[in-house]
């Protein structure tokens, strides 16, 4: 377990074929840092979701940009930042959509950010449109599901029961 923060940086073209490279690197770092396998799984998925958003939403089709993944590990936590230099988005508007909306939209996605928030202990967005979009996610070594995460999921499940044919 490192005493100080160990920093890693990976930059790849914004192309879905690179998701596997990113997941593998993040997974190895988390596992080696002593995170249990189920945490490693969650971290990998959350990072995949953030990178998938960059690939799908950040850059116009004809301009391929980069995905930057910054990983910091210390004795308490793992922090991942996923950064792009694309168009950005209105974080408040996206976060304001409640479970109701989200489920009605399930057909066409809208699951990524919800998953990130369920899988990680902290998720922050920092959007400077046209300059930099940064998603910062933290996973603590010893923290199980938060009350907020439990409440989020409870709402979703209740809703999905009413939608069931």
């Amino acid at each position: 377990m490192p005493r100080k923060t160990e920093q890693f940086l990976l930059v790849t073209p914004s192309d879905s074929k690179n998701l596997v490279l990113i997941r593998d690197l993040v997974g190895k770092i988390a596992l080696r840092a002593g995170f249990p396998q189920d945490y490693v799984d969650k971290i990998q998925l959350a990072v995949d979701e953030a990178c998938t958003n960059v690939i799908r939403h950040a850059y116009p089709r004809n301009r391929r940009g980069d995905i930057t993944v910054r990983i910091g590990v210390d004795s308490r936590k793992l922090k991942v930042e996923v950064i792009d230099h694309g168009k950005g988005f209105d974080v408040q508007a996206v976060l304001a959509k409640d479970v109701n909306h989200r489920l009605n939209e399930l057909k066409r996605g809208g699951l990524g950010i919800y998953l990130m928030r369920m899988l990680m202990d902290e998720v922050r967005f920092d959007v400077k449109p046209g300059k930099e979009t940064r998603v910062e996610m933290v996973k603590y070594r010893d923290l199980r599901e938060t009350d907020e995460q439990k409440a989020l999921q409870k709402k979703l499940i209740e809703k999905s029961h009413t939608l069931r044919r």
Partner: protein, 122 residues
């Protein structure tokens, strides 16, 4: 380096699709194409067998959401079986167990289609 592959089996009006490997935003379109092909053939009773699937992200889940309406409106369904704990956890986080039939074995999935047929014969 093949991250994702599929196999298909037909049993009367039922189609079983075996998926293997990593289902993410890169491989989701292959999966979607395979599902669409089955649907275009007019085969709406589909079992997806996850026994060899190691990983799924929301891009993979989105494929189910994108076709389920068409399948169900044609009297069919997509039933899922043999999910690893890891993959099931992702479905569970998203409340999918309330929206889809997710069962332990392929036989159970097939039986669910047969039971439904008996209850509502054409």
């Amino acid at each position: 380096m093949d991250q994702f592959s599929m196999q298909r089996k037909e049993m009367d009006d039922l189609t079983v699709l075996y998926i293997e490997g990593y289902l993410d935003a890169h491989t989701a379109h292959q999966f979607e194409e395979a599902l669409r092909k089955i649907i275009e053939e007019g085969r709406y009773k589909i079992v997806v067998n996850f026994s060899r699937l190691n990983y799924i992200s929301s891009a993979g889940l989105g494929v189910f959401m994108g076709v389920i309406e068409e399948v169900r409106s044609n009297g069919g369904d997509i039933k899922m079986c043999c999910l690893s704990d890891k993959v099931f956890r992702v479905f569970d986080l998203l409340g999918f167990p309330a929206l889809y039939d997710i069962v332990k074995t392929e036989d159970e999935a097939i039986q669910k289609f047969r039971d439904a047929q008996e209850k509502a014969p054409e």
